[in-house]
């Protein structure tokens, strides 16, 4: 097992061929197993670009991303897709559930993509739904749920393959205060019970202050990386 779960090493991203726009430059940090961290920054600061790079959805112009000690640029699109499936879970601002499938099918989709046994994936999906307080909704269509329920289903989907790290991009951006609080409680619970790492991207400082580590991005650069001891849950 590698020392760090994820290493961002001098990451830079420039868009455009003629007119070049630098979205991110020289960002270096590492994430350990089971960390509960946040990336904070203004809109347009480059935090989503950073998330796409470390989520292996995009490739950096300079620098490299190492996941579990592996250099991801060398893996190719197929290899990165596999790593995403096995080691990473995604929660986006929009739930992005598949309307063609039921709640439980949405949750077990990453298991099916991984080629895992369907019956065992289903059992695991039901466990995850129970953990998220969504019992009884398994066979409903994803479209029949409320906004908060949909986002919890999306979280369940991100957790199915027992990822080492969940990347969450403004996961509560579309939720009301009560649902927002509930989602962070769940993140904390999963982090404590399953040891899953979380990296939450947000523009909201009050959200970031609930995490153990805050990375601040401004104008495409990492300007702050601090430990936040106040946020640790009561023992």
């Amino acid at each position: 097992m590698a020392e760090h779960l994820l290493v961002a090493d001098g990451l830079g991203k420039t868009y455009g061929d003629v007119v070049k726009t630098t979205a991110l430059s020289d960002v270096t940090f590492s994430v350990e197993r089971g960390e509960f961290a946040s990336v904070i920054g203004q809109s347009g600061s480059g935090k989503s670009t950073l998330l796409n790079l470390i989520g292996l959805l995009d490739t950096p112009t300079t620098g490299q991303v190492l996941v579990d000690g592996r250099e991801t640029a060398a893996l190719g699109r197929r290899g990165r897709a596999r790593l995403r499936n096995e080691l990473l879970g995604f929660v986006f601002q929009f739930h992005h559930l598949l309307p063609e499938f039921s709640v439980v099918e949405n949750v077990l989709m990453p298991g099916l993509i991984a080629g895992r046994d369907a019956r065992r994936s289903r059992v695991r999906a039901e466990e995850v739904l129970a953990l998220l307080g969504l019992e009884g909704l398994e066979d409903k269509n994803a479209n029949e749920l409320s906004g908060g329920q949909k986002q919890r289903v999306a979280i369940g989907r991100a957790l199915l393959n027992e990822p080492a790290l969940v990347l969450a991009d403004e996961p509560t951006g579309n939720l009301d205060t009560a649902n927002t609080a509930r989602v962070y409680e769940l993140f904390r619970k999963v982090n404590a019970e399953l040891g899953t790492g979380f990296l939450i991207v947000t523009h909201d400082r009050s959200v970031a202050q609930q995490t153990d580590r805050i990375l601040e991005i401004s104008d495409g650069r990492l300007v702050q990386d601090v430990r936040n001891t106040y946020a640790a849950p009561a023992p």
Binding site: R77, A81, R84, E86, F92, H96, L98, P110, R157
Partner: protein
Amino acid sequence: MLSLRIAARFLRRNPVQSGLIAAGIAVGIGVQVFLGSLITSLQQNLVDETVGSSPQVTVVAAAEGDPVDLTPTMWDALSRDDRVTTAVPVRRFSAIYRRKAESVPLQVVGGDLGALDTIYDISKRVVAGRARLSGDAVIVGKDFAKANGLAPGDAATLVLPDGRVAGRTVTAVADFGAAAANETLAFVPAGFAGDVLDLGDGQYTAVEMQVSDVFQSTAVADALRADPAFAGTKVTEWQSQNRDLLTALQSQSSSSYTIQAFVLIAVALGIASTLAISAVQKTRQIGILKAMGMHDSRAGRIFLWQAALLGVTGAAVGVGVGLALIVLFSRFASTFTITPQWSFVAVSFAVGVLVALLSSLIPSRRTSRLDPIEVIQSG
């Protein structure tokens, strides 16, 4: 098979759209099956009408007017060739039917009724009287009988090639299936024809044959020409004597193929455009699946499977529609029976599925190239 499962779900989610594409394929393949079978049956019917009840390969003497000496080696050669279904030795001559001051020309064929039936099917074509070829019998065509007021049992006087006059008795009137034959063809016993032509035993004017596949006549004729047993004879066959008919059949086939090709192109364009729209509609889902780790080629296969499902369903329904059209057409609109050509039906089905698969190539490629962040960032 996750791609297949997702493809099936995508199709079920938009039942109207899926139904319309499948219906488009069904119409195309239905037309294909119906038109293909119609043209093939029509051609078979035409060929059957033209040469079904007449000799397809004929052996005559090389020198005009000479008889053919039918030797045992010739018979052996003919019976050895599986393609020859029947070989009938005949004695043909021209005669004139005389009635008062009128003279009507006749083509007279002398032979044994049993053997003649294998080509001319006389016994089954009798419309009055009873088929019999012995003694002074003559069997005439129905138009000839009508024009000359002849009925079974009536006497008929023939003026023979050498000027002699022979009295015959009409035993039957038959419908030979073609106006020319019904007006001028007559059958007499082999012995009488031998006397008229002054031929010995084993001497005939021609040996007439039918072959199992009418389009094999050229090959059969070539084989006989090459056979030493047939030295001194001349072999003719129907295809070289019916060039116009063959050209017409070929043109009919070409026009039918053209129509079928354009129907398939129209179907392909329909499927391609609808699948392209479907691919755009499902961009978000594909992006999410990719973010979750589905690799590019697997994502691309979703649309290939959609096309395969639509192709198989549409083509199967299309075959049903085509067969139903064939039954309806045969029953209500046609004077001849259309026989479904099963091999052609199978090919049409396969073509339907193939066209659907080809039409999915563009959406499949676009899907496999889709970058998940395009979808995630736009929400």
